[in-house]
């Protein structure tokens, strides 16, 4: 990764130098100089990897074409098997029963769906499609940075914790010149040197900081690490509020729990990326895989809304995947790689309780190449709406080059 000196690095470095490395008052004080405007929104972007089956997430159960194309895996109201059951929200669409907590959020107007999102340039390759979405430039492989990485430049802030990815690797969406905190577990963000009477953490911290001074990529990565430590170690991260209970298993539960902690701590975090892997690439026996993956998604989103309470007004959650799956079930009670898939959104100020975008229909002639749900909403329209209406980003041209956005209506 090439990595230019940037405003954030500069401010962070200057701040630490002025304060004495690792000493003195918290660099959080620096936010006073560059505070974000009051009410500035927080984006929580959930990227689900594997190409999940949108048609069994928000299911067009009322369409006979759907029932005919998926005789072994189509969801049905009141099915005795909960993995095949759909919770109708009208006579055509329903929510997979494994996502039951989403029904209340939808009816409360906090949650909504865009059921046919994508772009035909995304291809049926997981990896190309993920890259294209994260780069924000479908069809252009050479784009070096990510759409959020470009957008951050227009979002005020001074700390490495302004943008956080819950991921084991830096997501391509965040590639760019701005430092990002990439972490799986915020509470373990400290050095561990020795035990008992032999603890030497203070010395290790001081010397390692001095070793990571310098301008090589590796040294800068270390500087980001210590900058993140400076923020997180000085900041008590609050426990879940309002009786919210997150799924404990690794994945979306801990990520959204920690996202809420950052938001409630009020340290200026503006963009949070939640990387979600699992069994979403459902080529075989997908009902069982879907249930295992969807149950924690529904529970975690409900817990997140409950935990944030009125602070959900400042937050917009946007979830999507790289592509949808074939409309017709394959030979192994699964589905293969397709095109359009559902995106979902949630927020206190979101225009929820809606199913947005044009529904392309499921007759053979209405499908992409007679096999996949046709995408009718460009994924970049979702990004543009969030940036413009929630994040205060004015110049969309530099973030989503060559794209003229169409309003979706989520906000």
């Amino acid at each position: 990764m090439t990595w230019d000196p940037s405003r954030r690095v500069f401010l962070k470095g200057a701040g630490l130098a002025a304060l004495g490395v690792g000493m003195g008052p918290s660099p959080l004080m620096m936010r006073a100089a560059e505070a974000a405007p009051a009410g500035a929104g927080v984006l929580v972007h959930i990227f689900i990897r594997g190409g999940f089956d949108g048609l069994n997430f928000l299911s067009p159960y009322g369409d006979p074409e759907y029932q005919n194309a998926r005789p072994g895996i189509a969801l049905r109201p009141n099915d005795t098997d909960v993995q095949r059951r759909v919770l109708p929200i009208d006579s055509y669409f329903g929510i997979n029963a494994s996502l039951a907590p989403l029904e209340n959020l939808y009816r409360a107007g906090l949650f909504g769906f865009v059921p046919a999102v994508g772009n035909l340039k995304l291809t049926r390759s997981h990896f190309d499609a993920q890259d294209y979405i994260e780069q924000g430039t479908p069809g252009v492989k050479t784009t070096p940075d990510g759409w959020i990485g470009r957008a951050i430049k227009q979002i005020p802030g001074a700390l490495v914790t302004d943008q956080v990815a819950f991921s084991s690797q830096r997501p391509r969406s965040f590639f760019g010149t701005e430092p990002v905190l990439v972490a799986s577990n915020l509470t373990s963000f400290n050095l561990r040197a020795g035990t008992g009477s032999r603890i030497w953490r203070t010395d290790a911290d001081r010397i390692l900081r001095s070793m990571y001074q310098g301008s090589s990529d590796m040294q800068r990565a270390g500087q980001e690490t210590f900058a993140a430590m400076d923020v997180l170690l000085r900041q008590a991260l609050p426990a879940p509020s309002n009786g919210a209970v997150y799924p404990a298993a690794s994945g979306i539960g801990p990520s959204l729990r920690q996202a809420a902690q950052l938001i409630k701590a009020g340290i200026g975090t503006r963009t949070i990326f939640v990387n979600l892997g699992g069994r979403f690439d459902t080529h075989a026996n997908q009902l069982n895989s879907n249930a295992l993956d969807y149950i924690p998604i529904g529970q975690a989103l409900a817990a997140f809304a409950q935990d944030l309470g009125s602070q959900l007004d400042d937050v917009f959650v946007l979830g999507l995947t790289e592509f949808g799956r074939t409309f017709t079930q394959n030979g192994s009670f699964g589905t293969d790689h397709g095109a359009g898939s559902v995106a979902f959104y949630m927020g206190g100020r979101a225009r929820g309780g809606r199913i947005l975008g044009r529904w392309p229909g499921l007759a053979k002639a209405q499908l992409n190449e007679q096999r996949d749900l046709m995408p009718t909403t460009d994924f970049r329209d979702l990004f543009a709406e969030v940036l413009q209406k929630h994040m205060g980003v004015g110049d969309l041209g530099s973030v989503l080059p060559g794209h003229t956005p169409t309003a979706v209506g989520m906000l």
Binding site: M1, A183, G194, A204, Y212, T225, G331
Partner: protein, 529 residues
Amino acid sequence: MATDTLSAERISPHGGAAAVAGTLAALASAAEVLAQDIPAGDLGRRAAVHVLNRLGFGPRPGDVEHVMSMGLDRYILQQLDPRVDADLEQRLEAFPALGWTLPQSWDYYISDQRQDTNTNYIGDLNNQQRSAQIVRAVHSKNQLHEVMTWFWFNHFNVNIADDQRVRTSIHDYEAQLRQHALGKFPDLLNATAHHPAMMAYLDNYLSTISRYDRTGRLTSGLNENYGRELLELHTVGVDAGYSQDDVYEAARVLTGWGIATGVGRFQFQFTANNHDPQATSVFGLTIGGGMMQDSGEQLLKFLGEHPKTAEFISFKLVRHFVSDTPPAELVTRTAKTYMDTGGDVSAMLKTIISSREFWAEAFGPGKYKNPFQYVASSLRAVGAEIRPVDGTTRNDTRAIQGALTTMGQGQYTCIPPTGWSDKGAEWMDPSSQINRMNFALDLVSNTTNGSATQPFQGVFVDIPALLRDNDVSPGDPAAIAAFFNKEIFGNKLFPATLAGVQTLPAAGAVTVANRVVGLLLAGPEAQGR
């Protein structure tokens, strides 16, 4: 300490030992262009460290001297032509389950299902496999062979957590990749295509000709998963220009390729009844009707000889051994070698190692290590011994396995078929960094007995003894840093590092020795290879 005790017995059939053309010339040319300030006496050391880092999992103390006294060319040729390593074989005796045949393995799996003993056989098999991977990386003298086994496993990724058929056969799958790791690419492709682990992981064992029940409902049929990834990830690559129809037809040609399981049986099996025998064409290859299993064999042969495969494999090799952004010209030269030699891996590696591009890397900060590379190289740098805790026979590396999982690279658990990212920069982030620093600091808290109370049970590290053996005073931070600078870092430690470790407060010699090394391994220079 590396000693030259490899036997004469070759591990696998091999193309021969022609000289690595122009290695030293390429090195000298790279040095001249890029690093005129390198002291002349330092060049050989820098080159030896580079070779140990790129063709292996980094130097152990003594390795640099060994390579220099043996001669770079000779060392490289030895790495390209692995011989039986008796010391390693003895260490691997701690992992008897890895010798199970597939039918034996399946019987143990059935036994686990019945719960007729208290042993979890397959869990134990998988634990032994993870331990053996660490032991091989840390101790094998055939370092390049292990690097290439890792590389091919990652190229033909399967996920141990995916399916019981993968879990019970993954040791055999890796053994087959190791067998061909420096051989011919088409043999690697064939081994994976005919293995239960791959047939299960990418669902091909479920893919059949369309079948319907009495009411006309589809009961089984095509599954595109393996057909697609065979083209996209294993051979010609996503940009080769194939269409969705080609994916579909590839999958159709491969219907019937699956797995046989049962008492005393666990193997790849072609099931004629599941196969769709229609004539077809895939990416320009015409396949006649009724060819049965041979249609798939023809497709594999076609893909193994395809120039796009040569290009894609070369791109990935150059990315691994040279740079996150592979120099196009070197990729082209390597692809030419592929086409000239029928995909001979050793020959392609010779092309890469003989290039100026490869040697130019010896003078930069290096490619950022992935977690496995970081952990293996750190263990090697301190001369760690991985062996059973005193009084036990079982080699247990669970603490190291856990550290790898924390760093985001749990062994054999990469979910997507693309494998782990081989771009170093994608592993460079604060989460990775803090976990690496803590791994290094934990490692030097380990005492010599490697007992259960240590951070890493079964890992024996004695840095003070290592220093004393080399006439370095364990209480002297400057001398310790100088020793590791020479032995491990090719004299590339930054001035800030050398100055930093000297500010450690005074303490006992053992404490000082361990802390200095912990800092060096946590520092920036240890993150690149």
